[in-house]
Amino acid sequence: MIPIETLIAVVVFLLTYALIIDERIHRAVAAMAGASVLVFIGIVPWDSILEHIDFGTIFLLMGMMIIVNVASNSGLFEYLAIKTAKAAKGSPIMVLLLFSLVTAVTSAFLDNVTTVLLLTPMLLYIAKVMNLNPIPFLLAEIMASNVGGMATLIGDPPNIMIASSAGLTFNEFIVTMGPIAAVDLVIVLVLFVLMYGKQMKVTDTERSAIKKTIDSLDERAAIQDAKLFKKSIITLIIVVALFFVHNNIGSMLNVILPFVDPSMSLEPAEVALIGASLILFWSRTSPEMIFEKVEWPALFFFGGLFVLVGGLVNTGVISDLAQVVINNVSTTGEAMFVIAWFSAIASAIVDNIPLTAALIPLIHDIGATSTTIDTYPLWWALSLGACLGGNGTAIAASANVVVLGIGEREGIKITFIDFLKVGLLVLFITVAVGLGILYLMF
């Protein structure tokens, strides 16, 4: 007999999930409403809320949002978009490859949504200038964004959540997921060239005309504030550098400041907030204007989700699921396989953020209960599946929705089936290769 509070926690979670997928009610409102129900009836008591809400994730997201908001005011992304367009020298294939590469690298260090939001208009403009079907370019951009976001701790919200909960460092992500992201990106680009290369052939005259039009754009005109532009780049470099050393910052500082504890480390959230403070202080940008642009709904969405998952934890649902996994899986390799494919396919169907939120305590429970399964590789399997699952369907990740939404507004329709055909192929190949690499590593 299932206890009533367990049933309620599961029903509320599933109902909230359904509302999040459907989005007739804003996802943040749905998550908060679901969380409110669980708090109201005491399934998640007030004193356990603070245990369940991962403030590391929330503050890291907030800090990076502030940095990106200030940087985007300078015209940095538009400058990057024009420079990338010019570097392609009128070749459609090069436009596809370069924009995908720039999207992947930018998504690895900044949030995917802002990256695609700022690069897609330029991509659409270039497709128009080239007089080519923009769909392959948009699809490649989406895939590159999801693959690139997998490479670093800060590239995708699932990674942020996993790192925060499992105590993984920025460098561990770079070393483990970086090579996988690089290989998978190459696979994606090769696939796209094979699938769409013929459509992208242009004559020398056409290429020359395209180059002329693109070259007439002035990337300097995109810079709205030259001083802020430079400050943004410097701040981003400092923040990324700090991420690289966040785990042993104490030993570095101890050399010049002996009172600093050499064993001290900085949480990624602290790095993000330090970067946010730096850019706000240095740029003298109005804090009201920047704080207003912070995606508060997204942060409340995360908060609500953590409470919802906390309800599943408190009622024992997660530990029961963990036991089911342990009973059916005997080795770390099998567990990696299950976690990677389950999270990939599930992420393709439903949002990867709530899925990751639910699987994190599951993996913790597996680690606490099983004597044969090592959880360390499972975190990477989850990261692989949750991030790459975003390529599966049109609604699987926020970057997808943003690019498709922009396309819809410009009259470009990519149907669910159109996306699915490409998305599932990319998903299966990249997850298979990624899992293979993880097996080699572990």
Binding site: A394, V401, G405, E408
Partner: protein, 179 residues
């Protein structure tokens, strides 16, 4: 609108909020529209006068992108010569005109050499005329006109662009670049 389209739109609005409109507005400020793209520029008119001191590098770079022939036209203000003649006499007017023409030839030579170094062919013309009317008429035979903000004089603290340049930009039919 089908369920899928409306779903994408709902998710887009929730994820992006109002940011997209602001981004498109910023892009429109420097992306050329279809009407503005000058597809085939074969001839460029570059009006010059005493107030145009130099051509910036950015304009040279733009001219070299087009690879079109540039016609440098230096105009000495005919009305100014007439005024000098009326007040100071014919000899003074002749001397005034010669001085202006000498300056004009020097400027044309300098710019022509610079264009030549960049592989751009150029033609030169120098005459006494009306800075607005003559250029307006001539512009009909060119694909692009590059106008200095200082052309015609009168540019100051309160005028970012000289009155003659402002009128030319608004009156000519050819595409124009203001530098």
């Amino acid at each position: 609108m089908g369920y899928y389209s409306s779903l994408i739109n709902r998710k887009f609005k929730d994820v992006v909020g109002n940011r997209y409109e602001g981004i498109i507005k910023e892009y429109k400020e420097f992306l050329l529209t279809e009407e503005e793209v000058v597809k085939d520029v074969k001839t460029i008119l570059l009006p010059l006068d005493i107030f145009v001191k130099e051509i910036p590098n950015t304009l040279y770079e733009l001219l070299s992108i087009y690879g079109a022939e540039v016609t440098l036209v230096y105009i000495v203000d005919r009305d100014a010569i007439a005024m000098v003649k009326e007040i100071l006499g014919e000899d003074s007017a002749k001397e005034y005109a010669e001085k202006k023409e000498k300056h004009g030839y020097k400027l044309i030579e300098k710019i022509s050499a610079e264009l030549g170094d960049r592989g751009i062919s150029s033609k030169e013309r120098l005459f006494a005329g009306h800075k607005l009317d003559n250029i307006e008429t001539m512009s009909n035979d060119f694909d692009l006109v590059a106008i200095s903000k200082s052309y015609g004089g009168g540019r100051g603290d309160e005028n970012e662009i000289s009155p003659v340049s402002q009128r030319l930009i608004s009156q000519i039919n050819a595409a124009a670049v203001l530098y």
